[in-house]
Symmetry: D2
Subunit: 106 residues, 4 copies
């Protein structure tokens, strides 16, 4: 399923989420369907509250993918960096803080 | 841009969001693109933190649509129900509370 | 339980939340206790994950108060403004949008 | 500032957040003040939207403490567990996932 990285993509090595890649892709495909469904609901003048309910479901599903990626990232990428040397570890930790802050919408 | 409601769609009357329907549709189309982009990023083994950043952007964009719909809903659907009679108004307020609770993820 | 407004408090008229004021105060007192408990937990070197669990509970409780206030505000303050005249209603709706945006952390 | 752990407190060893304990305590003291201020605002019948603004500020401040604790926890507790042995590490990772899920309100 992997396609060649587009020009400019820095690297296409296996990532921290390699083991769960099929899960993440399956979830994202479902979310794509949810968002297409949302467009259809608004296009069909469906009731606002029903559209809101579906938006909440899609948002929740996206946050589940975020949680899965954070999980994989901490277990693999951060862990490998910490094992490599202290500076690399420190850089990864600092980057993780920023990613957590963003995911928590702070 | 409006299509005939698909069979089974209960009703296709103009909704509280009628005036902003093109905006909501434009935003949802952009979000569809963002989610397709996310799938591509995971498929291309892009770096977890970059994927997380895009998930945050898509989540934020979905919540903006939710805010817009809530806004329209309160100004129009709720307002009309309140004007109609007290019972109808009360029912709409109770429904709004549930929608707000869900949108706030409580 | 009402105390005289401190000097500089612009007004102390009954608010949209007048009917639920005792509930809101009871919840806020409980939250005060929760936050004091958090301080004690950190002071006592309690386990990070246990502290995090209590922070989530306090955050959730605060958001419940926010939901209750939003509810009261929409049913009373916004409704009265809409009934008064169109301009006053419009101003209240615009203010509500900002409050919702903030509460949704957008 | 450390007090003896109350009876029943399982342990009072230095925690992952030991280095930032004064910061966390200072933030929590400020949040206690914010929540007391909220109680006062409601007691004084202050305007709903102003109360909501302060609730948002207190919620944000609590989430900042949560982020700080997560950060410390990942850098210290999780890291030590991973270094100790694989099973201990695995247990800590599983616990972290639950804590992250709760903090993200999923």
């Amino acid at each position: 399923m992997t396609t060649a990285p587009s020009a400019g993509t820095p690297v296409a090595a296996p990532r921290g989420y390699a083991d769960h890649k099929p899960d993440h892709l399956a979830r994202l495909h479902r979310i794509e369907g949810q968002v297409r469904g949302l467009t259809r609901m608004v296009d069909d003048d469906r009731y606002c509250v029903d559209v809101l309910t579906q938006i909440t479901a899609a948002t929740h599903a996206l946050q589940e993918v975020a949680l899965g990626l954070l999980d994989d990232h901490i277990r693999h990428c951060v862990q490998e960096a910490v094992r490599a040397d202290q500076d690399t570890g420190e850089t990864k930790y600092a980057e993780l803080t920023i990613a957590l802050r963003r995911t928590l919408r702070l």
